[in-house]
Structure formats: C-alpha cells, structure tokens
Symmetry: C2
Subunit: 236 residues, 2 copies
C-alpha cells in the first residue's frame, strides 16, 4: 500500500501524531482489501497476525461457546479492531466477520509491535486507544449487570441518537437479530421490547426509530450518573 493511498487513516488517533517514517513503515507492509458480506476474518483462539482498520462497511466482533454465540461489538469506519491481541501477540478472544461488503486495511501485527518499540508517539496513542476500549467495555459490563434488557434497549437508542446528526431519528445499521445479541437478549424479546417502547415516546418503522419524547427515554435510562455512558464502545 502506498502511504498516501488513504489519507483519512493518517488522521486516526492511532496514527495522527506518529512520525512520518513510522507511518510509511506501517503502510509499506499493509494490505488493502475488500471483502464480501459475511466473510470470517478472525476465528477466536487463533493467533493474531494483523491489526485491522475498517475503511468502509462494517465488522461484527463475536464469540461462540458450547453452541451459544454472542455479538460483542460492531466496528464501523474509521476504527481499528483487535488491537489488544495484536500488541500482545496473543490469541484472539473474539471472532470477526464482515457485516456487508467491507474495505479493510490489514497491518501486520509484527510491524505494529516493531513501530511500538521505536515511536513514542505511537506508544502513547496505543495507550489511549486501549484505555478507551477498556473503559467502553467497563460501561458495557455495567450495563449488562445492572440494567434490564428493556433498559438496555432504551440506553442503546439514546446512545445512537447522541452519535447521529438527527434530533430524533435513529436508523439501525445492523440486523435486529444482531442487535438483540449485542444487547444480550433474544430476537423475540427485542421485538417485544420495541413494541413496549411505543408507550415511551418512540415510533418505529422497520429499522427507523423516531424518538418523540427524549425525556421519557431518559427517565428509563437515567444516564449521567455514570460518566462516559455515551462514548465509544469497545473493540480492542
């Protein structure tokens, strides 16, 4: 890959402040590839050879055990994923698959670790990124342990609303079954919970959600007690 091929990734917080030579070194070994939907990228348990960057499309991080399976995170452009395993040169704890047609940059993990040794700015960026991933997961865990599935759904909508440009419209970019799994509930239960939302100022139409009474939702979610609730979700 040429270093100037995707100028926008130079602006990622991971690379923004690193030396030009470090960036060039990383790009020299990088692959830019486009994958069809539903392609397995990573199988949990396998060692981690690349750090991934989502340029376009979307990637689901999930885990399977004993016939069960759960969506851990959804990674959208421009974000990296599987950073923790890459820097530790360890087995991946999550599997990854594309949600739709997706363009990815693959940085060989050895190169990442190499640059880590020479470029202090990169080290600091990795520290910040890992800390954010960690804190995102902490918030996630608190959610699962302290809120009901219905409250988690309301919380999710408020989070997506805060991220969006709109005042009151949220559009799901993933299938409901995957959202259900991410929220730790069954598709059936999600379907019923969405119905229940209508009594709390949310009109739905397929993947469109119109929040007509934000305050009502906030009453369910009671955010603000916990700082960081509406920040990023984890994907390290």
């Amino acid at each position: 890959m040429r270093p100037d091929e995707h100028p926008e990734i130079r602006q990622l917080s991971l690379f923004k402040n690193i030396a030009e030579t470090s960036f060039a070194y990383l790009m020299r070994g990088a692959y830019l590839q486009t994958f069809p939907p539903k392609v397995d990228l990573i199988l949990e348990g396998e060692n981690c050879d690349f750090l991934y960057i989502v340029v376009e499309g979307g990637v689901e991080l999930f885990s399977s055990w004993n016939g069960r399976s759960t969506t851990m995170s959804v990674v959208r452009p421009l974000s990296t994923f599987i950073l923790a395993a890459a820097v530790k040169d360890a087995a991946c704890l999550m599997s990854a698959r594309t949600l739709k047609k997706t363009r990815l940059i693959l940085l060989p993990a050895v190169d990442v670790r190499r640059v880590l040794e020479t470029d202090v700015a990169f080290s600091h960026a990795v520290i910040t990124e890992l800390a954010e991933c960690y804190r995102g997961l902490v918030t996630n865990t608190k959610n699962i342990k302290m809120r009901s599935s219905f409250e988690r759904l309301a919380h999710y909508l408020l989070r997506r609303l805060a991220e969006s440009n709109s005042e009151c419209i949220v559009t799901l970019e993933i299938e409901k079954r995957q959202l259900a799994s991410y929220l730790g509930m069954t598709p059936e239960n999600l379907s019923r919970s969405i119905k229940k939302l209508e009594a709390h100022g949310v009109k739905t139409n397929g993947t469109q959600f119109e929040i007509t009474d934000v305050d009502d939702l906030r009453k369910l979610v009671k955010p603000g007690h916990v700082i960081g609730e509406f920040k990023s979700s984890a994907q390290g």
Copy 2:
C-alpha cells in the same frame, strides 16, 4: 516514600523494566497508607488523582446505578488498579473500597502520566497491562453473556483452583454476597447453586471448597475453547 521501602513493588510488571530514575521519581511522590476495612477509596464519576497499588489486603471495584450495585472486580496484592482512568486523566468508571485492612501505595496520576512521556519502557509496560485488563474484561463479558449463573460459579471455582497451590482445595477470600454480585447473581441463588455443586463433585464447608471430581466440573465449564479463560481478571 523511599524507593527502597517496598522492594517487591519494583518487581511488578509495570515497573520491572523502567529506569531507576523513573522509579525513584514515582516513589518520591508516592504515599504508603493503611486503611481499615470497608473504606471508600474511589467514588465513580470523580476524577482520578492516583494510581493505586494493593500491597496487602484487598480492594473491591464496584459500580452503582439507580439503587442497584454490582461488584466488578476484586484486586489482591500485588496489583494495580484504576490504571485506565489514571493515564487518561478521566473520571473513574468504578468505585473502590477496601475489603479488609489494606495497605496501599498511591501514586499521583500526574506523576504517572509524566513518566509515561519520558520512559519508553514504562509506556510498554502500561500497554501490556492495559491490554491484559481489556482481555480479562472480554472474557468476563463472554462469561456473563454465554454462561448460566451455575456455569459461571463452576468456572469461577476452576479458575481459583488453577491459581491456588492446592490440588483440590479452594478457599473463598471474599464474602459470598460479594462473590454473588461479581458472578451476576443474588446471594440466595448462589447459596442454592453451591448446593447443586455437590452433585458435581464439590464438597463445601463454609468458605472451603473441596473439588473431588475436577473432570465433572470441567464438563460443566467446557474451558479451553476460549484461550485465556484462566488468566487474570480485569482491574484497570
């Protein structure tokens, strides 16, 4: 604090490879303090002024929301906690309190961030530590989302057994109500689950657990599919 006051903390992975001057700088500003049981050290939402090291005793990391509360992690000697918030200079996402009489080292977070800028070895140690914390939490989340409460208990016992010296004895070092909260269940349910364990080769006597049939437990837990299951728990 004198740099040579607690030689064992020099051996912590966070400090093992850092420069002597960095370590001295950190120690110069450090406080060594002993706290009684059940003392609140950190209130979530407040900014993080220190990085903590547990020298003796134990600390519970927990979170509260809307009248509910949950134990997120238990930190034992010699470990650090609240590293992520300290390096990010951000609000803590978890509260902390001592479980019993506990000796702690408090490193001013500004000093930590200062050393981060000058000492590459320290940066790398922080990266490793954060990555481990993150991966511990990933495992935790997978546990909560994919295993039943009974399976989580069995898994917990096997984990503690792997950490202990004994072939078959596990001794709880926390109250059962806290274990229940950590595992995401009620004390009543934990009590009943412990009873159920007797049918799977576990004899109990108060806080003592004797695992007489490890294979039976393993059948419940089915570990090994997910690498890293028996490593550390998160506490960043």
